[in-house]
Symmetry: C2
Subunit: 209 residues, 2 copies
Amino acid sequence: MDKTKQPRVIVIAGPSGVGKGTVIKALKKLRTFRISVSHTTRNIRPGETEDISYHFVTREQFRGLVDEGVMLETTIYEGNYYGTSRTAVEDVLAQGQDVVLDIEVEGAKNVRRVYPDAIEFFLLPPSLAELEQRLRDRNSGEDEQTIQGRLARAREEIACAPEFDYIVVNGTVKQTAAVIDACIKTHFLRAKERAPLVDRLLDGETITL
Amino acid sequence: MDKTKQPRVIVIAGPSGVGKGTVIKALKKLRTFRISVSHTTRNIRPGETEDISYHFVTREQFRGLVDEGVMLETTIYEGNYYGTSRTAVEDVLAQGQDVVLDIEVEGAKNVRRVYPDAIEFFLLPPSLAELEQRLRDRNSGEDEQTIQGRLARAREEIACAPEFDYIVVNGTVKQTAAVIDACIKTHFLRAKERAPLVDRLLDGETITL
């Protein structure tokens, strides 16, 4: 079976405020995939939609899902739980579609264990100053300590970037999405993906790009 | 120092008859690089130019170069010696330009040892039947035994394809060149290439794609 035709898990990770959601929205215009909807215990924000932005659940419900073993990854951020259910991911893959996960760095590490052939991207901000500005703009009214906490965590997460497959600087959203799209296309040309193709050629089949 | 800015060795390998030379010519229209000129002991063919197609040398001269230790890789094909001098490659890199090597599979293995960060492509034919046809067209008048020998060698070489970085099926030359160009661009976004970028960001610098 040609691995290039198999649906894949695509991970988009990076520090809070780097713009993962916006980039994924721009990527939607370039390729077909589905976004895995995460569970969270945080409150719904203006502009968010239940079961589309997140599955909003109580802490008790969240713990129940973890106990049932259906969570692929979970993470705590600012005192709230976030998580991706394995069922949601598997359902999309079973339909033959790629599934994009918008997740935190810790979560990405767990996903890597379950899906070692996931294609993983880490988004970097153009600078730490820029990230700080984005965090302040997004969370206006937060106290200085919270902002500094987010920045400290961002630095720790950024240090994990080399564990991913690709590192992309999110300067211009449109360009970032185009670059991610190009990386996914060329990823399937990497030799480790193409051993089955070589076998088919040697078996006398005609193969294509 | 940003590794993306360092000139690189780009290897284009594949079985004889797969069209390496034609693809490299098409790649020239897409990006700037220089082609390393190989040494060979075989006779010059119609349409070839001394010191551009190859450095044509005698067996004694070739052995002398090997003894001097200047050959980066050597290989024997159909009773003739072929080789790339390390000096030629280093000269191009020192000028800040990428250098493309059009070499046999055995030679590519040697290059990998000297330049572990070379970007290596293996070109496959769309089918073995197509490769056979190309070999017959190119070497009209050769006896059946020679053709069969070339094909047997091609099969052995193709089995080594998974050792390379990327495997590209050379169906349409223009498309093959475009795909190689895209792979080189995205190669520099691979995490193992970008650790210095992450360090610079954490040091407070502004970085770009």
